[in-house]
Amino acid sequence: MTAKAQRVAWLGPILAWVVLLFATAAVAWLGVGASGGLRFGGALALAALMLGTLAFGLVGVGRNPALLRLVAGAAFLFLALMFFLSFADLMTRLR
C-alpha cells in the first residue's frame, strides 16, 4: 500500500445521507400528521427504504462479492422463516 494521498469519493455517501434525512423527517411526519393504514404502511415502507439506502448507499453492499451478499440474504431468509412460521401459529388460533 502506497502512502500517496488520493481523492476520497464522498458524493455517493452524502447523497444517501440526504435521502436518509428526508426519510427520517417523513417518518416523523407520519407519526403526528397521518393515521391508520397510511401511517402504518408508510412507516414500514420508509423503514425498508432507509434500510436499503443505508445498505447500498453507505455500506456499499452492491459492490460486495457475491458471497457477502449471500450471507446478508441468508439472514433475511431465516428471519422470514421465523416470522412466517410463528405467525402461522398466531394467525390461525381459534380463539
Binding site: F78, L81, L85, A88, D89, T92
Partner: protein, 574 residues
C-alpha cells in the same frame, strides 16, 4: 495391519523428544502458555478438559436422578432438590457439554488440519470463545452454589420469570455468555473454511467432517443469537420487571417457546451434525472404502441444517399452538427426517464390499449408527401429532433425545476420541480396553434408555421424582443400566490417561487413513504442516474408483514419509 493393538503392558519410557517440534512441546511459559495460547490445537485441548469437567458434573446430577427414581416415593431428595438437580443436568449437558462437544474439540483441532491450514482464521477470537464458554459455565456453577436453579433447562415463563424462587438470572446470564462464545466459534470456522483451504482443496474434496462442521457453524451463527435475545428478555423480566411474556398483561408465553425452540431445535443439529461427520470419517477408514454417495451426503448435511430451522413447532403440539401450525410443523418434521435416513443408508452402504476391521473407533461408530437409527426413528413418533400428544412431556421424549444426543453425539465423540487420539497425543491406547468400553457403552446405553420409551408411552411424566408404583420395574431397569453406562464412560478416562504416559508412540498415520490430518506428524507440529500441502486427489481415496479395496493399505509408506516432511499430497493414483 495397524499398529494399534498395543498390549497394556507394552510400556515404553516416556520420550517426547522423539517427536520434534510438536504443538505439545513446552515453550517455557508454564501454565500461561496454555491459557494464553492461540494455537487451535491447544485451544481444542482446553475445550476438551473443560467439557470433561462439565460432563462429570452433569453426570453426577444424572446419577442422583437415577438413584432417586429407583423408588416410587423418592427417598433421597426433596421436591426442590430434585428440581434443581435435573435443571443443572440439563443446562450443563446441553450448553456446556453437548454444544461444544465435537465442534469445539475435534472441530478446532482438525478443521484446519483437514483443509491444510496453519490455524483458524481468527486465532485470538478462538481463544476468546473458550474463555466465554468457561465464564458462562462458571456463572452457571455459581448459580448452583448459591442455591441452584429450578426451572428446567428450557426456562419456560411465566415460571422462570415470575414464580421461580431461584438464581434464574445468573444461570441465564451464563448461557448467554457461552452463547456468544458459540457464535464466535461458528464465525471462525466458516471464515476458515472459506479462506484457508490449501491449494487444490476444492469444496467437493473436503472431508465430510469439514462439511458437517461448516454446516454446524452456520447453525450456530444463525440460531444462537435468537437464544441470546430470548433469554435476555427473561432476564429483563427477572431483573427489571419487563413483562414481555406475561399472559396476565397481554403477553404470550408461547412467544417465548417459539423463540426458544427456534434456537433449541437447530441446537440438536449443532450436536448431531458434527457427530455424523466424525462417524463418516471412521466408517470409511475402517471399511477401506470410499464414502458411498459423497455428494448426497453433503446435500443431506446442508438440507438438515436448513430444514432443521423450520421444524421447531413439533415441541409445541400440546402447548396451545394452533392446529394449522401443528400440521405444518408435523409435515416439515417428517421431511427433515429424510436426509437423516439417507445418511444412515449411506453409512451402511459404505460397508458393502469393503475390507472391514473392527478397532475401537469403528465399534463406537457402528454403535452410533445403531443408536442414532433408533433415535431417528422414534423422532417419527414425535412428528405424528396424535402420538406426540400422548408422549410429549413424558419419558418417551427423554429417551428419544438421549438416543440422539447421548447415544448419537457422545458415542461419536468417543469414536472420534479413539480415532484421533494417536494424532492428538502421539500415543496409542490399549485396544482391548477400548473395545471393551465401546461394547459396554452400547449395551449400557440401551439398558438405560430403552425402558424409558415404554415408560413414556405408559404416560410417566418427566421431571417427576415421585411416581405411581406400577412404573417402578422399568425405572429400576433404567437405573441399573445407568450404572453400567457410568462405568463405560469412566473407563476411557483411565486407559486414555494411562496411554499419555505409558502408551506406545504412535506413527503419523496408525490407521493408514486418508485426509490431510494424517499427512503430518503425530502429534502435529506447531503450524500443522512443514510445507503447505497441495491436494490433487479426491476425498477418501482408499481405492481406485473402478476397483475393489485391497486388504493391504496403500500407499504403504506414505505415513512414515509424511512424518518427516509432509509430501505434497497426491500424484500417486493407483
Amino acid at each position: 495391519m495397524t499398529d494399534a493393538a498395543a498390549p497394556i503392558d507394552h510400556a515404553e519410557p516416556r520420550s517426547r523428544s522423539v517427536i520434534a517440534g510438536s504443538y505439545l512441546d513446552s515453550e517455557g511459559g508454564g501454565l500461561s502458555e496454555w491459557l494464553l495460547t492461540t494455537d487451535h490445537k491447544r485451544i481444542a485441548l482446553l475445550y476438551a478438559v473443560m467439557i470433561t469437567a462439565f460432563f462429570f458434573i452433569g453426570g453426577a446430577a444424572a446419577t442422583l436422578m437415577r438413584l432417586e427414581l429407583v423408588s416410587p416415593a423418592g427417598h433421597f431428595l426433596t421436591d426442590d432438590e430434585y428440581n434443581r438437580v435435573f435443571t443443572l443436568h440439563g443446562i450443563i449437558m446441553v450448553w456446556f457439554f453437548l454444544v461444544p462437544l465435537i465442534p469445539a474439540t475435534f472441530g478446532n483441532f482438525f478443521l484446519p488440519l483437514m483443509i491444510g491450514a496453519p490455524d483458524v482464521a481468527f486465532p485470538k477470537l478462538n481463544l476468546m470463545s473458550w474463555y466465554l464458554t468457561l465464564i458462562g459455565g462458571l456463572c452457571v456453577l455459581a448459580a448452583l452454589l448459591m442455591g441452584g436453579v429450578d426451572t428446567g433447562w428450557t426456562f419456560y415463563p411465566p415460571y422462570s420469570t415470575a414464580f421461580s424462587n431461584s438464581n434464574v438470572a445468573l444461570a441465564v446470564l451464563g448461557v448467554i455468555i457461552a452463547g456468544f462464545g458459540t457464535i464466535a466459534t461458528g464465525v471462525n470456522f466458516v471464515a476458515t473454511t472459506h479462506t484457508l483451504r490449501a491449494p487444490g482443496m476444492t469444496w467437493f474434496r473436503l472431508p465430510l467432517f469439514v462439511w458437517t462442521v461448516y454446516a454446524t457453524s452456520l447453525v450456530m451463527i444463525l440460531a444462537t443469537p435468537v437464544l441470546a435475545i430470548t433469554l435476555m428478555l427473561v432476564a429483563a423480566d427477572r431483573l427489571f420487571g419487563l413483562p414481555v411474556f406475561d399472559g396476565f398483561r397481554g403477553g404470550d408465553p408461547l412467544l417465548f417457546q417459539h423463540l426458544f425452540w427456534f434456537y433449541s431445535h437447530p441446537a440438536v443439529y449443532i450436536m448431531i451434525l458434527p457427530a455424523m461427520g466424525v462417524v463418516t470419517e471412521i466408517i470409511t477408514c475402517f471399511a477401506r472404502r470410499r464414502v458411498f454417495g459423497y455428494a448426497m451426503m453433503v446435500y443431506a448435511v446442508l438440507a438438515i441444517a436448513i430444514i432443521g430451522f423450520a421444524v421447531w413447532g413439533h415441541h409445541m403440539f400440546v402447548s396451545g399452538q394452533s392446529v394449522f401450525a401443528n400440521l405444518v410443523f408435523s409435515f416439515l418434521s417428517f421431511i427433515v427426517a429424510v436426509p437423516s435416513a439417507i445418511k444412515v443408508f449411506n453409512w451402511t452402504a459404505t460397508l458393502y464390499r469393503g475390507q472391514i476391521t473392527f478397532e475401537a473407533p469403528m465399534l463406537y461408530a457402528l454403535g452410533f449408527v445403531g443408536l442414532f437409527t433408533i433415535g431417528g426413528l422414534t423422532g417419527l413418533f414425535l412428528a405424528s401429532v396424535p402420538i406426540d400428544i400422548q408422549v410429549t412431556g413424558t419419558y418417551f421424549v427423554v429417551a428419544h433425545f438421549h438416543y440422539v444426543m447421548v447415544g448419537g453425539a457422545v458415542s461419536a465423540y468417543f469414536a472420534g476420541l479413539h480415532f484421533w487420539w494417536p494424532k492428538i497425543t502421539g500415543r496409542l491406547y490399549s485396544e482391548a480396553w477400548a473395545r471393551f468400553a465401546a461394547v459396554l457403552m452400547f449395551f449400557g446405553f440401551n439398558f438405560t434408555f430403552f425402558p424409558q420409551f415404554i415408560l413414556g408411552y405408559l404416560g410417566m411424566p418427566r421431571r417427576y421424582h415421585t411416581y405411581p408404583a406400577e412404573f417402578q420395574p422399568w425405572n429400576v431397569m433404567s437405573s441399573t443400566g445407568a450404572v453400567v453406562l457410568a462405568a463405560a464412560y469412566a473407563l476411557p478416562l483411565f486407559y486414555l490417561v494411562w496411554s499419555c504416559f505409558y502408551g506406545k508412540i504412535s506413527p503419523a498415520d496408525p490407521w493408514h487413513a486418508k485426509g490431510l490430518e494424517w499427512r503430518t506428524s503425530s502429534p502435529p507440529p506447531k503450524r500443522n504442516f512443514l510445507r503447505t500441502p497441495v491436494v490433487t486427489e479426491e476425498p477418501y481415496d482408499y481405492h481406485d474408483p473402478g476397483a475393489a479395496p485391497q486388504a493391504e493399505a496403500r500407499p504403504v509408506d506414505a505415513a512414515r514419509l509424511a512424518a518427516v516432511a509432509p509430501r505434497p499430497i497426491g500424484g500417486a493414483h493407483g
